[in-house]
Amino acid sequence: MKQGFSWRVLVFITPALLIYAMFSALPLLDTLRLGLYSTDDTGVRSFSGLANYATILNDPQWSASFWNAMLNNLKFFGIHMLAQNPMGLLLAALLSLRNVRFAAFYRTAFFLPTLLSVVIVGFVWQLILSPLWGVSERLLGWIGLADWFAPWLGLESSALITLSLMSVWQYVGIPMMLIYAAMIAIPEDVIEAAVVEGASPWRIFWQIRLPLILPTLGLVTILTFVANFNAFDLIYTVKGGLAGPNYSTDILGTLFYRTFFGYQSQVASATMGAAVATLMFLVILLGVAAYFLLVQRRLQRFAL
């Protein structure tokens, strides 16, 4: 490495720094600032301190919306943790075994849904699950569960879960790839040593492979967390800005959009939108901080 700060370093760094600062970092800070302002009916903005936050948390209507979105987002995250990551783990574990024929083909195919636009995914599944088309009903009929079919996307009780599973379907590829990379990094002779000592495949998985990929599982968790609390596209595509039925699929991202742009009866408010965004930011920050301070350090022991 070379010493010293020169004009050359400036030239190298400035374009990136400028664009990143102007369109990513400063807007974020500005949003935080904006959340401390209120807009009155004439559109005039004035400093109001934490009034917006007080409104969101105390005003019955706002509060209900906010906590509803928050809770839904947590459910959304929960379903991803329960379905997406174990599935990714299973697929990665299977693909990282030696002598699996066509492993490369499977890997490529499994990653395809991840590359599709969320818009495509949303619509495709909407069609498949549509009671009008009847594809799902027919398929369920093959395994004798035709009666179980319901227009899940349209029902308040099942819409969120269905959308979560659609998202899981799309994004399994990412934890799969990350965990796969971690698994093939485990030295082969460590596994052989365990075989020689008499460990069964099951024991090898739980006591050797899994501990050694814990850092990656931690990474996958935090990535899932950030992505889920930032999610918007899928819900918007399938359910629109209102995130129906009856706000049962409303998550923080859609709440933000609605607050910011206004939707039907709700008036647009940049400042309230900023407040919502700030709250989202705090939630994500909390998660990331928790990960770095509590989880990541402890998992260092398992790094190869």
Binding site: V190, E192, V196, E197, P211
Partner: protein
Amino acid sequence: MAKVSIQNVSKSFGSTPVLQDVSLEIEHGELVVLVGPSGCGKSTLLRVLCGLEEIDSGTLRIGDDIVNGKPPAERGIAMVFQSYALYPHMTVYRNMAFGLKIHGADKAEIERRVMDAAKVLHIDHLLQRLPRELSGGQRQRVAIGRAIVREPRLFLFDEPLSNLDAALRAKTRIELARLHRDLAATMVYVTHDQIEAMTLGDKIVVLHEGRVQQAGTPLTLYQQPANRFVATFIGSPTINLLLARVIELAEPGVRVQLGNGCKFLATVDSTGLQVGESIEIGLRPEHCEVLTGDRAPGVDDAALDAEITLVEHLGESNLLYLKTDDGQELVVRGDGNAAVRLGDSVIVRAAPEAMYLFRADGSACPRLRPGNMRSAHAS
């Protein structure tokens, strides 16, 4: 401890044969070293004994049991891997206890065995450390400890010293020899280093291209190599080989002539040799002598005119690289005090008893008086 019997074992990977009809008997408590160049099959043979690979044909016996087809855990073996293969996320204690836990030993038993092994290997103060906090030598001891606690019938070592630096290697070699003695264990040890093989093994097995070239004690392999390959593999510096022809079968021994006309006697068994046959004469550098001053060669001795092309000083001895007048190259180990210089024309002398003779197919004619050839320059 058990004896091991390998009978007619063959193995191929795809269409490439890796082990070809290998047979070997290992006695109870013996330390057998499998040695050979890269790709000779020694590691495969070890893995096949271990159970990590399966053989295509033949029988493997450990003790009285036929073990081919059985998984490693049922063979009563323990293996020390080249890169130690310690479980990175477990402490030294847990690394050593892992195998015992699998077989259901109770806590007290595990503790006893681990502590005993740790004390023997001087790692008892490291039990709570993780592998990455240990030096290479310490990791190796943990790997050995892991094998010891299982009290196996057979120990397998896969090039355990190759990842250590030279000083540590020599020290650890001695400790392994001591360990073998203390445990009275049957051990199969793989290495590519012939010095390790010679110093550690009760019996050495030289492998080349999947076949056993020779199995015997270190001294036997040195003095009576079965073929050219073994002769060139064992001994450092490598044995000198000179092209020659048989000119007379003189009991006891054979009279030969080199390309440059030099004639001498080789004290080897002449059974099967024909006059006029093309052969190779082997001469170990330590069995040759550079004649100085007024000393003359004996009547049956080999006496070669050569020029010194390089001198390597090793302290108490030196290595002289020479070229004869018909272009054959030789290495001679000489006295470190001798006053020889680059470019000197000298006579290289060797006694008939020092000769090795190899026929065109590589097989060796047995030496009649292998004895313990005293280094030429000592006499």
